[in-house]
Symmetry: C2
């Protein structure tokens, strides 16, 4: 371990930059997904924030990004230090097992003992030291042969996150805080979330996985041999002239399935998954309520305003305004409001309805109004 | 009186088309005032609705419109039958005493016994027969030397309207329903409005005045001799080549004062004002709550949508959306909401805050953001 901040030995970061973030429509779109937005007011995109967080841990030359072909230019524009061999382009979205599995399979061929850590491109983490400490423990657990995940200590009974039910401590050299995982549980209702919080054995599932690449692939193969076989054929061809033809043939056939189901849950069931508790501020910025909370610093009386050229005039109003225009936006007497103003679409909802924004996107899809999606 | 629908003898309609309608910002603007909008879904502007209501009563050649120079083209576009001698242009707004007084003074010179009726350009009246009946009684009262106003029978304890406190019946030939006016009272609070409604002696002040032109002018002169003198100088010059020079000199000096204070209140105090109860649907469309109510037909569960090219997708939402764009507007779980979407300004409020929209306009003025006013 390197307390000084030098890169962690043998460690490679993987950033799957995929999901659109439907609950953040009309801000997030097919051509402007969540990771390409500055949702924290940091002055840069979530993707760049993620890169900046990982670069000290793996070194900037050891970060692989898996993203859609359509986003290549935007991603490379955001990440000037991203090297060409570390760009993995998807011809179409095939979910996280395919994306992370392929990255692991490519990397293991270049470096057999590599330890990969997968971190979403669009999450917010505010404590770099706490994050580093957790990743270091995760890498130590990975060296010991485990699949490690970072579980976030809950600060409230959140209903928008999945949880990990933890068991007792596991003795792993270099991972003093590691505990065994009992199981993964889906987003709970409020009463259940309150019980989880009181119980203390439940951590938020931050979707961060750290493992030896070969261990990760073996787990995918145990869950779905066909999926692994496809990934292996892609990886075999990746650093050869055959890449294009093999991608065209194999990639669209890969099973679309989240890594939670091919890796996290079966590894937990098999006793191979350990959890490193992460005691830092984390958010998956899953909806506008979450953005409002990030900006209000927890104060309900605030109105958060995002947007470089935002012109907002508010009278007795709280919530969040996200402006992508220079239009004058006036709010009068609206509380916990969410207003998202983009050139071709406007959303008005409340923070308590934020999770339901996805229903709008579904309705727009059904009615064929793809022009605003 | 003419029950058949022929024009009323000697009657002339005056439409002061002035006020911007600040409570309807950002729909109503300096360059697009309330009377130039279709707020009822009738398919035409409030001004044209007003014209269509008055044309059968006075004949289309006997309607005078007083409006700002800036709105001349729009007004003439809306009212193709408006004859040139019936267009009175204000170089700047001087309130209703000046506007209606000048119209009366011009008309009395052309036709000494003329009876004028003044009707706002931007009110909604839905019962043409009931309206005609009330105007006919008002004209009869005017012939008898009174100043008549039409008072609307309240249907709810409205706090957005002024009221007329009525006394007992007055015997006037041709005006069987006429009652004497005790006094005019300003917009009440809810408790007072409820008392008015229960009492039965209070009618809404619809701002409609009918009188012989000479009687109306005499009343203005009693209240403010200087104002009348200015109006007379303007009227003397009006149908002569001197009009331009005299307008430039006199108009800006006229006292800005509402006709309520120069005519209605002093006439009521002097026993010269009679009220014709109008038992028809009337609204001054003063704010967005009023528009929402007009469109919802009284149902609270509705979402009213105005705008030719409105694209609205609403999920469990009520209130009103007014769209001046073809942007996709999505509402999720917002109740009694008001969303007004214009090319350069957006308003989000609720129906219960509709009266406070004026505060936004005031704030925009104070901060010098006249570009959106």
């Amino acid at each position: 371990m390197s307390p000084t901040g030098a890169p962690i030995d043998g460690f490679y970061s993987v950033i799957p930059a995929g999901g659109i973030g439907s609950r953040l429509w009309p801000l997030s779109r097919a051509d402007a997904p969540k990771f390409l937005h500055d949702l924290t007011g940091s002055g840069q995109t979530l993707l760049k924030d993620t890169w900046d967080r990982l670069a000290p841990l793996s070194g900037p030359s050891r970060i692989m990004v898996v993203t859609g072909r359509a986003h290549r230019a935007a991603v490379e524009d955001q990440l000037p230090d991203l090297s060409d061999p570390n760009v993995v382009l998807e011809s179409e979205p095939r979910d996280s097992s395919a994306a992370i599995g392929l990255a692991a399979a490519i990397l293991v061929r270049r470096e057999p003992d590599v330890i990969v850590g997968s971190f979403a491109a669009d999450h917010v983490i505010r404590d770099a030291r706490g994050f580093r400490r957790a990743v270091q423990e995760g890498v130590a657990a990975a060296r010991a042969g485990f699949i490690a995940t970072i579980g976030i200590t809950p600060t409230e009974p959140a209903i928008g996150f999945g949880y990990i039910h933890c068991a007792g401590p596991i003795a792993i050299d270099g991972a003093p805080n590691a505990v065994a995982a009992n199981s993964f549980v889906e987003k709970p209702d409020l009463a259940t979330a309150e019980r989880y919080l009181a119980d203390g054995d439940y951590l938020w599932n931050g979707g961060m996985f750290i493992a030896r690449a070969d261990v990760l692939l073996r787990q995918i193969g145990e869950s779905d041999p066909d999926l692994l076989a496809g990934i292996e054929r892609l990886a075999d061809a990746w650093d050869t002239p055959a890449r294009g033809a093999v991608v065209d043939k194999e990639w669209p056939r890969l099973r679309k399935i989240a890594i939670d189901y091919t890796v996290a849950e079966p590894a937990a069931a098999a006793g191979r998954l350990v959890v490193i508790p992460g005691d830092f501020e984390w958010d998956d910025v899953g909806d506008f309520a979450s953005i409002a909370k990030l900006h209000a610093g927890g104060r309900k009386s605030d109105l958060a305003i995002l947007g470089e050229n935002a012109r907002v005039l508010a009278d007795r109003s709280t919530g969040i305004v996200i402006s992508q225009s220079d239009r004058m936006i006036s709010l009068v007497g609206v509380t916990d409001i969410v207003v998202v103003d983009t050139p071709d679409a406007l959303l008005v909802t409340t923070t308590s309805n934020a999770q339901r924004v996805k229903s709008v996107v579904d309705a727009l899809k059904l009615s064929g109004r793809d022009d605003v999606l």
